[in-house]
């Protein structure tokens, strides 16, 4: 047991959710920046609906939050989630993904969502 224990069933659900390269990368990216869906679409090699479905799963689990900014929807890490300490200690082990943002900028695909 641990000071910030999480039920094993709940942990399994979260781990399954993050056991997907796309969603895990998204979450790590959100650790340093907020992103709009269109940026995720530009970064990952899947269709817009696929991205939409991935972020929906993260949102349904309460791990991310969305805020609409005009026509864009910005996703951010939900650091108020009860599960955030668990998630954070997890993504802490992952390499920073800011290079993806730089790639976007180089390619002129960075959209100013704010």
């Amino acid at each position: 047991m641990n000071s910030s224990a999480i039920e094993i069933e709940k942990a399994a659900v979260i781990l399954k959710l993050l056991g997907d390269k796309t969603r895990l990368t998204m979450l790590k990216m959100l650790d340093t920046h907020d992103y709009c869906v269109c940026e995720f679409v530009a970064i990952f090699k899947v269709s817009q609906p696929a991205i939409s479905q991935h972020v929906r799963k993260l949102k349904d689990a309460g791990l991310v939050r969305e805020t609409r900014k005009g026509q864009w929807i910005i996703y951010s890490l939900n650091r108020e989630s009860d599960d955030f300490p668990f998630v954070q200690s997890l993504i802490h082990h992952l390499p920073n993904q800011d290079f993806k943002l730089e790639e976007l900028e180089v390619q002129g695909l960075r959209i100013s969502c704010d």
Copy 2:
């Protein structure tokens, strides 16, 4: 990034593996004791082949090791795995599962594998 960083692809594979209640519980159990397959069979509500398949996946990923002790095969955490720091920080958040062992003993199902 972090001192014990793990590739994001590899992390996703491990998280998917542990995104299963049975395997996640097994791994947490192995954090405090070694177990033989027959004990897992007695503890979890699935068939012996199902247990065998779960431990095989954990073994194939290098997270656990097996040692034969006569007719029994004992599984233990592979603390030498490159991924062990990642896995350990993860299971550190989970509640201790020793009560499962106590349940076995109460029911007289605890097999002395050593």
